[in-house]
Amino acid sequence: MELSLYSWQSTGLQRAPVSTSAARADAVERARGGDVTAFRELYALHHRQVSRQLAFLVPRSDLEDVLQDVFIEVFKSIRRFEGKSAFTTWLYRLTVHVAMKARRKHTRSRLDIVEDVPDQADERPTPDAVSLSAERQERVEALLEKLSPKKRAVLVMHDLQGVEAQRIAEVLETNILTVRTRLFYARRELEALAKDDPALADFFPGGES
């Protein structure tokens, strides 16, 4: 008589299979068919990549929650994935949309008095104090939070993640002209915000005149 159990392994050292593109595609297909183990595989395969894509699109403090939201959305929507594009493209699009939505929610519920206390502007550190890249990073991240979700998404994807305008248009399901327009205004706004921060204003010294 044989023991047949899915967890059964016959003998010897069990070698874990190396993931291949075919195996990944198979995971997507099985997830579409309702296989929960495949959904777990998708998380295992893509959570780091999604996390990287979410960087700058959402505040650092929200990253964990938004990553979860993305995979909940994958879980809910994977049956709608028709394979017309690569799964990673579909996932990236979904990631960006969830990030933009998450930020809108965040904006609505946020209470942040600090940015509204005008008198404290003169108490901020001088540019010298921002020479440390960690602090500059923190300040730029704070500026990004002040952009609208649409502008932020375009600026982050183009100027920080190096995604081309045409691809951004595809991801956001809009046209390239809109992307360029948003990028133009996003850059202008970021610059204005940076100029308002005494610690960052030195990046934009006065003009020729």
């Binding site: 047949s4 874990a16 959904f39 600090v114």
Partner: protein, 458 residues
Amino acid sequence: MKHLEPDVIEQAAKEAPAAEVATHLTSCSECREHVRRAKGRQKLLAGMKPYTLSDMAFRRVEARLEEAVNAGEASPSPWRWWWWVGGAVAAAVLALVVVSSEGALPGTVKIPRPPVATATAPFHPLMVLRASSEAQLQDGDSKWRPLSAGDLALAGSALSAQSVLLAPESDVAWAISASGSLSLGGPASLTLGAGEIVAHVGAPIEVLADTRRMLSANALFSVTRAGAEVVLAVMEGQVEVVDSISGERRLVKSPSALRWSDGSSLQDAREEALRSLVAPPVPARPWVRFDARGLAEKTVVSLDGVRLGAAPFVDVVTAGRRRLGLTPPGGVERESWAELVGGQPFTAKLETPAIENDGPEPDAEALARVMAALKAQRPKLASCYEKWLKANPSAQGEVVLELVVGAQGRVKKARVENATISAASSECLVTTAKSLVLPPLGADATLQVPLLLRQPGR
């Protein structure tokens, strides 16, 4: 004059422009200005490091995803297996079940078969060496009966037990199905993993289901977790992980995080590799008596993310730097690092959890009034700095003052964060902040007030 396109401007800001562009720039001051601004922006964004999450955070998300799916956040129909497994987990956590090829027997838990290649092997009878009192055995179609030492578990038998020690008649591979979650951290031993545990053993293996511990001599455990197959090879104290995604094979970073049921770590065993794991050596690090009787009742204590218990209790844990989590009743967890040293008293401080701003949001007008009031009362806060200056004329620093303000404007709680000021000043700021009177906000709110303490002109 026609100006340069934005793309060209960006390019010119990155590197020396082409001759044609350079020529245009010499005659177009507006374009030069655009290039200059683009350079500033590119410099500002250069070197920004993408942030990601810690492994612990990834695991938290994974755990919450499982919870969310089980709680029915998504449409259930295509995910019936998931529900099925969830039900099985609830009904028979860590019950040991051996099912035959004929399918599940009445009363057994059948875990759905995922589409993975299965292997078969001859089944050898297993002799029960020891079993917990509630252990039961079912042969064929017969009823469940108590299991006792000397019983043989034959092919087709089903076992249900909290704890059972089985011995193969010969060196044979055998399988255990179990449910739970895999945790590589924490004071517990191996926590049995999600869905399946496969062990190939050359010696008896003991699974203590109630405590989710596993003891064995040299053994190879294969744990499927989140769909990725991870092989834990526990050989003479060394733990290797083979990740099927990356194909990498590496030692677990912190083998000491894996502990045997007596608390000794694999690291300890590795240091004395010649000694058998069946009789684990005395841990190199001493035990620490963890006394949680001083904490508020029902405060849940966790170490390295694994629940230790709810106060009041006294437990023995191994010494070392541990991540201590405290969750007051109805509150949120607060974590901090704790250095647990044998023989030295350790006091766990329960930080007051921040009140979540769940209520209606204060309107902008109310906020403006509060801001004005804060400004007006800043001299009170400044008095703390003045005291500090008296003690240290060159004193300066930064602090973020967090105020939990009630709907009526009373400062309910105050604390300082990210302080680079003296402890006395921090304390003074907190005391003073609590005495502030602010206009009614209409809702509870948590306000963060960053303060820079320095003398004018410095």
